[in-house]
Amino acid sequence: MTATTSGQVISDRQQLAYIASQAADARVNVELETEGMTLNIGPQHPATHGTLRIIARLDGEQVIWAEPSAGYMHRGYEKLTEVRSFPQVTALINRIDWLGSFANEVPFILAAEKLMGIEAPPRAQYIRTILFELSRIANVTLFLGDLGVQLGAITPVFFAFRDREYALNLIEAATGGRFHPNFDRIGGLKDDLPKGWIDEAKATMKKMKQFCDTIEDLLFGNEIFQIRTRGIGVIPKDVAMSYGLSGANARASGIDWDLRRDQTLPMAWDKADWKVITHPAGDSFARCWVRLQETREACSIVEQLVDNIPAGPIMAKVPRIVKVPEGEAWVSTENPLGEMGYYVVSKGDTGPFRVKIRSASFNNISITPWLLKGVFVPDIITILASLYFILGDIDR
């Protein structure tokens, strides 16, 4: 029985019987077609980590076409680097992935050092690695808390914001900046570690490991979380590679690849014992799970390295005004969000001729038009949350 707008009740038994017979007969598909609708998510939406706008065409609850629209935060860093000197560039690139900012500085400084043919002294390499991993911890901690919020669980984010502060305090104590350390220098670091920092770091790492346990209990064991993430947004291995997915997103698709392990850089990752975490499933759950395990590994890297920091200088011999010889260099590192690299071209000047910034989120998000096709509306948020992007890292 259906009611029309005029209140008249139509009882078309014949038609109902016909529909029922067709529905019972599996050969005929009774589709309730709805008119297509365009759903606009963002740019101001809590799930967009900044200002990403997603335009989705819906058919009922299902997405038939989705396209992210970036550029609301494009700051033109590639152009700005061309009018700055090498040491000034680190202040800019701090702001690309603002949650793991020290990690942004490292590949650029390594590229400049590669062009100059110098290497930081071992002590600086160790401290760089430790701070790099601390920014990973600070970054992924927020991801783990935020993940809960996007699925409707409010508790994890409070734990995350509380415990991330421990890692940030540690970074601040060493570098002077909570978010934007601007601490890495060509040839080494700005300062040595302050007194008592190593003990503090060890205590903090214990807390961060506890935080991982808490989140695992709160979220990963949660039935709702599992239903909402398992089998949602599956990225097969070959698709991940052709889109250039990196970091935890690639490792969750079963790609056993970690730039910390698979390339030789003047950093101290090979001095610690840790493992690369992969997951074969490729779904949202796998991506979240890999990130959680990686935070644990990062804590263990820091714990191992702080005990073995060699003595010595923290700066190599570098002239006061840095002129980088002519050449081209590519250096990428395994940042919290994935592979972050800089293609630095120098013409023998004090500043770079051109810097191509290859940021992880740009590639990671470029998969969304493919990935969001056919998913349901609530899963858009889950998938975006699990892909984990920072807007500054997309727009640069």
Partner: protein, 202 residues
């Protein structure tokens, strides 16, 4: 067999120039007509399955220098010779891309010459991830990609004119307001100005 030798045996006639820096990287410049085929061969035959990035280079030195000139003065003469980087080149613009082999853990940087406002073949049929990178390169340099499914602006507003990463595109923020610290416009207190005033009073 080294990567370059293997690539030579597969597409030898298309390689324009190459450069190996041991324990660093490998640069290969290919001829424009072989741009897509190179990607195809590298992916299918040589295991370079991972698409890292694609961008472009403008080798012309900026006519504005480092945008540190005082806008009231005449611009100093600047060297404007176009000099390409590793693996050479003949044109002002070059498209460059990087692929990575997850089996051998080695990368390769590919370059191709392209005319000003010219076009090269799109990589989207080979690497789906090239889509956004080509859109970005198109809007930032004005280089178009033949066969790209959806060449639209990525970051800039639709009615934006110009291609910001070209060297002849001025960084307006620097031109309307000189970089502080380089152009010292205010005289120090107690310097020349005061003395002059004193002279007038006398």
């Amino acid at each position: 067999m080294s990567i370059l030798d293997r690539l030579r045996s597969l597409i030898g006639d298309s390689i324009a120039d190459s450069l190996i820096k041991p324990s660093d990287d490998l640069w290969v410049r290919v001829k424009p007509e072989a741009w897509r085929r190179t990607a195809q061969v590298l992916r299918d035959e040589m295991g370079f399955e991972y698409f890292c990035f694609l961008s472009a280079m403008d080798w012309m030195p900026s006519p504005f220098g480092k945008s540190e000139d005082d806008p009231t003065d005449e611009a100093p003469p600047r060297d404007d010779t176009i000099k390409q980087g590793y693996a050479g080149g003949d044109t002002r613009f070059q498209v460059l891309a990087r692929l990575y082999s997850l089996k051998q853990h080695v990368g390769i940087i590919l370059k191709v010459d392209v005319e000003d406002r010219g076009a090269v073949d799109s990589w989207v049929p080979v690497f789906a991830g090239a889509n956004w990178h080509e859109r970005e390169t198109w809007e930032m340099f004005g280089i178009s990609f033949t066969g790209h499914p959806d060449l639209r602006k990525m970051y800039l507003p639709g009615d934006f004119e110009g291609n910001p990463l070209r060297k002849d595109f001025p960084l307006l923020a620097r031109i309307i307001k000189p970089w502080p610290g380089i152009v010292d416009v205010e005289p120090l207190p107690g310097a020349a100005d005061d003395e002059q005033e004193g002279a007038v009073a006398e």
